[in-house]
C-alpha cells in the first residue's frame, strides 16, 4: 500500500464500503483526514460532525446504532476515549451497543503537542471493559482490514491509530483472525510489540541478532487475542520481552503476564514501557527524544534486553 498515514488507509476502506452501505456513518469530533474529504464529498449524508463534543458524539453514535447504523466515532485518541469514557462504559460496554471508536495519535504520535495529547493509559482502561475489542494497528494493510472487520462487529471496538506513517509489515491478503502474528522467528523467545512499538521490536530483534541473541517478534495487534493459541505458541520459550508505548500498569505487557499466569506458565518476562516514576513528559524534539526520557529508546532497550537475556 502507498506510503500514507494509517488513518487514510483506514478511511479509504470505509469510504469504499460506505458507497454501497448507507448504514455506515462517520461521526467526527471535528477531525478530518485527506481520505475523509472524499467521504464528505460523495457521502455527505453519512458524515456527521458533532464538533469538539466527544460525549455527545459517543451517545449519538450509540443511539444511531440502536436503529441499525454502524458509526465510526473519530477523534484525537485521548479525547475520543477518556473524555467520553463513562459514555463508552454505559453505552458500549454495559448496553453492548456496537460503535467503532477510532482514535488517532495513540502513544506519542502527537509528540510535539505535549502530554495532554499523548495517550499512554488507554490499553489498560479500555481492556478493563467487557464488550470492547482493542485493535493496535501496525501498518496500512492492517488499517484497511480492521476498517472492514469493524463494519460487521456486533460489539464495540476501539481502533488505535498511530498519527505517523508506519512502515509496511503485512502482505496484502494477510490473515488477521488470531489477534497476534509472528513477524520473525527466533530460538530463544519473542519480543512482543503493539502498534508503532512492533516496529521497534523488529529493530530490537535485529540488533540482538547482531549480538548473537536470537529473538523472534510477535505483533500483539488485537486485545483480546486468541489467548489459548498465544499461550501455546510462547509457553516453551526461554524468555519473553514486551515493549509498549504505554504505562506498564495494565498495558499490553500486563495482558501478556495475565495470560501466562492464568495458564500456569512460569516464564521470565521483561516488560519495557513507561514507568509511573517518570510520570508525564514535556519533552520536545521528536518522538525519539520522548523515548529517551522514558528509557524506551533503542540504545536503552537494547542494553536492557541484552542484560535480561544473559
Amino acid at each position: 500500500m502507498d506510503n500514507i498515514a494509517l488513518r487514510d488507509a483506514f478511511w479509504n476502506r470505509i469510504f469504499e464500503i460506505a458507497q454501497t452501505n448507507t448504514d455506515i456513518i462517520v461521526v467526527s469530533a471535528d477531525m478530518g483526514a485527506p481520505a475523509l474529504d472524499q467521504f464528505r464529498r460523495y457521502c455527505p449524508d453519512q458524515f456527521v460532525n458533532v464538533g469538539i463534543a466527544e460525549q455527545n458524539g459517543l451517545v449519538l453514535s450509540a443511539g444511531m446504532a440502536m436503529e441499525g447504523k454502524h458509526c465510526f466515532l473519530y477523534g484525537i485518541a485521548p479525547f475520543v476515549t477518556f473524555r467520553c469514557l463513562e459514555q463508552i462504559r454505559v453505552s458500549c460496554s454495559l448496553m453492548d451497543i456496537p460503535v467503532t471508536i477510532v482514535g488517532v495519535g495513540v502513544g506519542f504520535g502527537y509528540d510535539e503537542s505535549g502530554p495532554t495529547h499523548h495517550l499512554i493509559e488507554d490499553i489498560a482502561i479500555m481492556r478493563s471493559m467487557p464488550n470492547m475489542t482493542i485493535h493496535n494497528v501496525t501498518d496500512n494493510v492492517m488499517a484497511a482490514a480492521v476498517a472492514q472487520e469493524s463494519c460487521g462487529m456486533k460489539s464495540a471496538n476501539y481502533v488505535r491509530l498511530d498519527r505517523q506513517v508506519l512502515p509496511a509489515v503485512y502482505e496484502k491478503d494477510a490473515d488477521f483472525s488470531t489477534g497476534f502474528a509472528v513477524l520473525r522467528e527466533g530460538e530463544q523467545g519473542y519480543i512482543i510489540g503493539e502498534g508503532a512499538m512492533t516496529h521497534q521490536a523488529l529493530a530490537l530483534a535485529e540488533a540482538l541478532a547482531e549480538r548473537g541473541i536470537s529473538m523472534g517478534v510477535i505483533d500483539m495487534y488485537r486485545i483480546t487475542c486468541e489467548e489459548a493459541a498465544f499461550v501455546a505458541l510462547v509457553k516453551d520459550c526461554d524468555r519473553l520481552i514486551t515493549i509498549e508505548e504505554h504505562f506498564l500498569a495494565g498495558g499490553m505487557g500486563s495482558y501478556v503476564l495475565e495470560l501466562l499466569n492464568d495458564s500456569g506458565v512460569m516464564l521470565p518476562v521483561k516488560r519495557l514501557g513507561l514507568s509511573h516514576e517518570k510520570g508525564y513528559s514535556y519533552t520536545y524534539g521528536g518522538r525519539h527524544k520522548i523515548h529517551e526520557y522514558y528509557g524506551i529508546d533503542m540504545p536503552t532497550i537494547l542494553a536492557k534486553a541484552e542484560d535480561f537475556m544473559k
Binding site: V59, L60, G63, M66, E67, S91
Partner: protein, 278 residues
C-alpha cells in the same frame, strides 16, 4: 375532554399508589422522583400520545421513549406492566432477588429502550435515534424525559445544540422541573433559571407548563406529530418532587428513599386523601 382528563387523573392516582406500594415493599426506590413526573408519563402512555404495542415491543414504527432520568424507573415499570408488557406481579419483585429490575432503568425489561442511571446520557442516545430516523426517513417520534438536575451535565447541552442545528424536530425533550436535586434546591446549588430561555437560546421550541396539569401537558404535547417547526421541542414541566404525598414533598432528604413504618402509612393516607379531595 373532561371525562378524558378525569380518567387520566384517576390513572395518575392508581399509578402513584402502585409506585408507592412497590417501593415500600422493596424498601428502596426514588419515590419522590416518580411522583413529580407521574402525570407526564400518564399523558404519554394513556393519553394517546405515544405509539406502542405491548404485543410487539420492537415494532419499528413505535415512538421511542427514553427515560433519561433513569431513577424514575419504578414509575415506568409500573406503567409498562399496567399496559401489558409483562405481568403486574413482577412489581412485587422490584429490586429483589430473582426480580427482573432494580432501582435504575435497564433495557432488558420489555418496553424499555435503554439502560440508564448515569445522568446526561439517555437524552443524547435519543438524539442519535432521532438522527437515524431522519436518515431512514421514518416518522416515529422520540421522547426523552430529563430531570432538571440532569441539566447540570454538560453533555446535555452538547446534545441540545446538536439537535437544533440538525433540525431534529422529531425529538421531544420533557424536563421534569421539580426544582430539587439530592442535597438542595437547584436554585441554591447553581441556578438553572431562566431554564426556558436557555433552551430557547439553544435553538429549541419551548413550552412551559404545569407538569401536574394533564390538560396543559396534553395541549403542549398533543400536536408533537403534526408540528411544522423545524426545531426540536422542549416541554418544561414545572412539578413538585413528591407530588401527592405532602410529608415527602419538596424535602431534599427524601431523594432516593422509600418511606418505612409510620412514614409509609402516613404517605399512603396522604396520597389517598389528596385524591379524594381532588
Amino acid at each position: 375532554m373532561v371525562n378524558f382528563i378525569d380518567r387520566l387523573q384517576a390513572k395518575s392516582y392508581e399509578v402513584r399508589t402502585r409506585v408507592l406500594e412497590t417501593c415500600i415493599k422493596a424498601g428502596t426506590g426514588h419515590v419522590t422522583s416518580c411522583m413529580s413526573c407521574t402525570e407526564i408519563l400518564v399523558a404519554l402512555y394513556y393519553g394517546g400520545l405515544l405509539r406502542f404495542d405491548p404485543e410487539d415491543e420492537t415494532w419499528q414504527e413505535r415512538d421511542r421513549f427514553f427515560l433519561s432520568k433513569g431513577q424514575a424507573s419504578p414509575l415506568l415499570y409500573t406503567i409498562l406492566a399496567d399496559c401489558g408488557f409483562y405481568d403486574v406481579s413482577q412489581l412485587e419483585m422490584f429490586a429483589q432477588d430473582n426480580g427482573m429490575f432494580g432501582v435504575h432503568l435497564q433495557k432488558s425489561v420489555p418496553g424499555v429502550e435503554i439502560t440508564c442511571g448515569s445522568l446526561g446520557q439517555g437524552f443524547g442516545m435519543a438524539a442519535g435515534v432521532a438522527l437515524a430516523a431522519k436518515m431512514n426517513r421514518e416518522n416515529y417520534l422520540i421522547y426523552s424525559l430529563l430531570g432538571d438536575g440532569e441539566c447540570y451535565e454538560g453533555a446535555i447541552w452538547e446534545t441540545a445544540m446538536f439537535a437544533s442545528h440538525n433540525r431534529l424536530n422529531n425529538l421531544v425533550a420533557i424536563i421534569d422541573r421539580n426544582g430539587l436535586c439530592v442535597t438542595d434546591f437547584t436554585e441554591n446549588i447553581v441556578a438553572l433559571e431562566p431554564l426556558d430561555e436557555r433552551w430557547e437560546s439553544f435553538g429549541w421550541d419551548v413550552i412551559r407548563v404545569n407538569g401536574h396539569s394533564l390538560e396543559e401537558l396534553m395541549l403542549a404535547l398533543g400536536d408533537a406529530r403534526s408540528r411544522r417547526s423545524t426545531r426540536p421541542l422542549c416541554v418544561i414541566a414545572d412539578t413538585v418532587k413528591g407530588q401527592g404525598i405532602d410529608s415527602l414533598s419538596n424535602i431534599p432528604l427524601w431523594h432516593g428513599l422509600a418511606p418505612k413504618g409510620t412514614d409509609a402509612e402516613k404517605a399512603r393516607q396522604e396520597l389517598k386523601r389528596r385524591y379524594e379531595n381532588g
